[in-house]
């Protein structure tokens, strides 16, 4: 038993819903109590879907438990099949139904429907949402895909995009365009937008592009085995990774990796002088492993930030994350405990967080700007505009969205220079942020900081406290914490102006 306040992932059957909802022509019958229907709103509200997810919940009640939940399931499956006429029916159990052991797969097969029935095994008490999506897609591919002759033209499948994915919609468009420039056509994109009949044609592609290992790797590995299709290992997020991806595709297909780069602006935006102020900004990354690993590379090598911490919530990809963390010399944080993430961020005192919606809240509390790079998603992560993470346009988007929360280049200096000016005072905040220009809270709301910050009793002498106030707001909290850590480490009890500047020199980069 584990006490959980906030979760990064839902249960595995929500992963199954992400696959079913992404597709067309499938229907999922879930043996589940009524309350589990809340999951519909994730799709209709967060993603603004204009259709109900193709999911029937049996919504059994306590009174059914003693009687016959199996018949209830069979009736629900039969009715759903008659009403929605799917090309394939997926059946599974939520956490509660797993306990009553009705065997949805066996029951659905027993009623003799005229479409393939795919039974899911979703261990609710040990696995989570991403696993559920990966497993559901894998089960569909296993049931439907068969080896077949390759298409004449060079084609590939795009694997792993689902409903409720972080920018999956636009990544698919971007990568499809990029591949087209190389001369590769997309045979099937799945699960997003595919029908079961499409899955039957997966085998005719020459290779697979694995967009999201979290939700597509099992299917990619299966297709490699059954249909002899190689799959790409590089996730094309960032300029460098996109070039590596193109090279990988070139190696598989023998085509040239040279594509048009006229729309790619990120490298120049990063090289131009205004971006100098980005140098060495401390950044903490947290999210799903794929996005975090890719974002760390962009942050360190393409924007010139310093990675001060990184981690992921999905243990399935922990190994990959560990090796990435080693590259940047930081300790990997593998956890799905929100409070642990908050403590790690507070301890690392980053100037920018690249995280999920959960870290956005951590950032708010700690007074640290945050840009979102990964699921779990929120209605804001489904912008009306085209906003991919992958490919050239994705690289442009990353630059804009990560830099936006920071104070801008020259402005940073002006704020420092005129910080005593009554109008242009630093508490006014960055000029391009919409909120009202009033004083920011100087000390963020009390957050339980990890032990490192204040062991023993240290206090600020009035002079030092005044000097601290002269430091611009966007680095003041960092300065405060650094100075305190420095004082603690040296057994200094009263912080003077000297301590402040000694600490500054100590932490100078």
């Amino acid at each position: 038993m584990k006490l959980t306040l906030w979760t990064y992932e839902g249960p595995p059957h929500v992963g199954a819903m992400r696959v079913a909802t992404a597709m067309k022509g499938v229907h999922l019958v879930l043996h589940a109590p009524q309350g589990d229907t809340y999951a519909d709103l994730l799709f209709t509200m967060i993603e603004r879907r204009d259709h109900r997810p193709p999911v029937t919940f049996t919504t059994f009640q306590a009174s059914d438990l003693g009687a016959d939940t199996a018949t209830l399931f069979k009736n629900a499956a039969r009715d759903a099949h008659a009403r929605f006429k799917p090309q394939a029916l997926i059946v599974g159990a939520s956490c509660t139904a797993e306990l009553i052991q009705d065997d949805p797969g066996g029951l659905a097969k027993a009623i003799g429907l005229d479409c393939p029935v795919i039974a899911l095994d979703l261990p609710s008490y040990s696995r989570k949402e991403t696993f559920g999506a990966d497993e559901t897609f894998h089960a569909l591919v296993r049931a439907l895909a068969v080896p077949m002759a390759r298409t004449e033209a060079i084609t590939c499948n795009l694997l792993g995009a689902t409903a409720l994915g972080f920018r999956h919609r636009d990544d698919v468009t971007e990568i499809t365009r990029l591949l087209a420039q190389m001369g590769v056509t997309v045979n099937v994109c799945a699960p997003l937008g595919a029908t079961p009949d499409d899955l039957k044609r997966l085998g005719q592609a020459h290779f697979n592009v694995l967009l999201y290992p979290e939700t597509g790797e099992s299917a990619a590995r299966l297709l490699e085995k059954t249909c002899g299709q190689p799959f790409t290992k590089v996730v094309p997020i960032g300029v460098g990774a996109t070039r590596d991806f193109l090279a990988e595709v070139a190696a598989i297909t023998g085509l040239s990796a040279q594509v048009d780069e006229t729309g790619l602006r990120q490298p120049w935006w990063s090289a131009s002088v205004d971006s100098t102020y980005l140098t060495g900004k401390r950044v903490f990354l947290f999210g799903d492993a794929t996005h975090v690993i890719a974002a760390a590379r962009v942050a360190a090598r393409e924007i010139g930030f310093t990675v001060v911490g990184m981690g992921c919530y999905n243990r399935e990809q922990a190994r990959a994350l560990r090796s990435a963390a080693a590259l940047y010399g930081v300790t990997p944080l593998i956890t799905d405990d929100y409070l642990e993430v908050e403590a790690a961020i507070a301890a690392a005192t980053p100037e920018l967080i690249l995280g999920t919606q959960m870290e956005r809240h951590i950032g708010k509390r700690l007074g640290i700007p945050c840009a979102v790079i990964s699921a779990p998603v929120h209605v804001q992560d489904f912008p009306a505009r085209y906003s991919p993470q992958m490919g050239w346009e994705g690289a442009n988007v990353l630059f804009d969205t990560w830099v936006h929360p920071l104070v801008m280049g020259l402005e940073e200096h002006l704020l420092t220079m005129f910080r005593e000016d009554f109008e242009f005072h630093d508490a006014a905040g960055a000029s391009h942020h919409g909120h009202k220009a009033t004083a920011r809270v100087e000390t963020p709301e009390p957050v339980k900081l990890p032990e490192v910050t204040t062991k023993g009793t240290i206090r600020w002498l009035p002079d030092a406290e005044r000097e601290l106030k002269k430091i611009p707001f966007f680095v003041r909290n960092t300065a405060r914490r650094n100075t305190e850590s420095y004082a603690v480490a040296r057994g200094v009890e009263a912080i003077s102006i000297d301590t402040l500047y000694e600490a500054k020199a100590h932490y100078a980069r």
Binding site: T4, G10, P33, Q34, G35, T37, D40, V447
Partner: protein, 424 residues
């Protein structure tokens, strides 16, 4: 105005019971508003990752560092041996209470998984009370989806508190149902103006404010879904004051009138206390009624507030209800509202969502009240919808909120009219 004026309304309308797929939250959802109301309470769900995810999704963006609710997620090893589950629960509770010394009331909330594996939370609560009394009082109730829908969670929670309330012979009025503090204060001042000063509320804002009850307690419900709580109070000897629910100008007036009748408030005092807010409410409602009048209404089952709200929308806003669905129709509590609801709509108890969507498509109502799972799909088909969940998350009771309540329903129609010009 009196209850028997407008014939029998829907009193004798047959209720069609439907059984099929339901599209309603489970009782756990009540925690979202209950934990805000009871400021020294923690709600610990003993359940699965699904339960935790439901709470988080229903709570939307309200992420606090440490909310006053959480889920003790059952893992495989807990399912293997129940003795261990109890030990683990005790450990998690001890840890939680050590970290949160501000917590004075702890609710162990049962879920589908805990019910199915027959984890006895009543015994667990007893055991934990032994360990943590008197600093913390431990209660238990079930918010599971196999036993409760949506608002029934609040009913189960309050009903669980009633047996432990201290006994008292004082002749007090108890107002029952979780109201936002500002609304509770308005209720109190209306009653004070009528000369009724011994008023208590359930739930109370803090454990130390919990009411004492007994045979001289008269109680009145503010929410229509509190049937079990009412029964529990009656078992303690308290007597219920029957009234329509205090939605809208008319509903509030009749609700206050029912209290006034019991307490022998003179018509002059009653008028003096209510005339001004009543006129304000009527005026505020009228502004929205202009948009709503003559429009047809379809309500999917959700909060059990459907009958009183349909009554308000029909009588004060001039709407024509076509179908009123409700998860559960308690005739005993709903009698006064049913009598006022103009004859006409079909009344449905329970749900078969696909059949209901077919009927809905056939009727093509002007306004549809439904859950969040259905709203966008119906909007995409050209219907105007109001999310039912807002009705429990927004202050809607009594005079000063009557206009806001009407506004919740008129806004989707006004918005549609606004967007017609260019975008549509």
């Amino acid at each position: 105005m009196s209850l028997d004026a407008p014939s029998l309304g829907c009193t004798d309308t047959p209720v069609l019971k439907e059984r099929g797929q339901r599209e309603v939250f489970c009782g756990l959802t009540g925690i979202i508003w209950l934990h805000r109301k009871m400021q020294d309470a923690f709600f610990l769900v003993v359940g699965s990752r699904t339960c935790a995810h439901l709470l988080q999704s229903a709570a939307g963006v309200m992420i606090f560092a440490e909310p006053r609710f959480g889920t003790a997620i059952l893992e495989e090893k807990d399912l293997a041996g129940l003795a261990d589950a109890n030990v683990e629960l005790d450990r998690e509770v001890a840890r939680l209470l050590a970290r949160r010394p501000d917590i004075r009331q702890l609710f162990l909330v049962g879920s589908c998984p805990s019910e199915v594996i027959k984890l006895d939370l009543a015994r667990a609560a007893e055991r934990l009370n032994g360990q943590h009394a008197p600093h913390v009082r431990v209660y238990n109730y079930s918010g599971s989806g196999i036993e409760t829908t949506f608002t029934q969670g609040e009913d189960a929670c309050l009903a669980a508190m009633v047996p432990t309330l201290p006994a008292s012979d004082a002749a007090e009025l108890l107002v029952v149902g979780a109201l936002p503090d500002v609304v509770e204060d308005q209720c109190q001042s209306l009653l004070t103006a009528m000369g009724i000063t011994s008023v208590r509320f359930l739930p109370a804002r803090r454990a130390s404010d919990l009411p004492a009850i007994g045979a001289n307690t008269r109680f009145i419900l503010t929410q229509p879904f509190l049937a079990d709580t009412a029964e529990a109070l009656e078992r303690r000897g308290a007597r219920r004051i029957a009234a329509p629910f205090p939605f809208g100008e008319e509903g509030t007036t009749l609700w206050l009138q029912a209290v006034a009748d019991v307490y022998g408030v003179t018509p002059a005092t009653f008028d003096a206390a209510t005339a001004a807010p009543r006129a304000r409410a009527a005026k505020a409602v009228a502004a929205h009624a202009a948009t709503l009048r003559g429009k047809s209404l379809f309500m999917f089952p959700d909060s059990q507030m459907e009958i009183p709200l349909a009554r308000f929308l029909a009588r004060e806003c001039g709407m024509t209800p076509l179908e009123i669905g409700t998860p559960y129709l308690h005739r005993g509590l709903m009698g006064p509202d049913l009598a006022l609801l103009p004859h006409g709509p079909a009344l449905i108890e329970g749900q078969d969502v696909d059949a209901q969507l077919d009927r809905h498509a056939g009727l093509a109502p002007d306004l549809t009240v439904c859950g969040l799972g259905l709203a966008n799909p119906l909007e995409a088909k050209g219907h105007s919808t109001k999310w039912a969940i807002e009705l429990v998350f927004t202050p809607v009771h009594f005079y000063e909120q009557a206009g806001d309540l009407a506004g919740l329903f008129s806004r989707p129609l006004r918005r549609k009219a606004l967007l017609k010009g260019d975008a549509a």
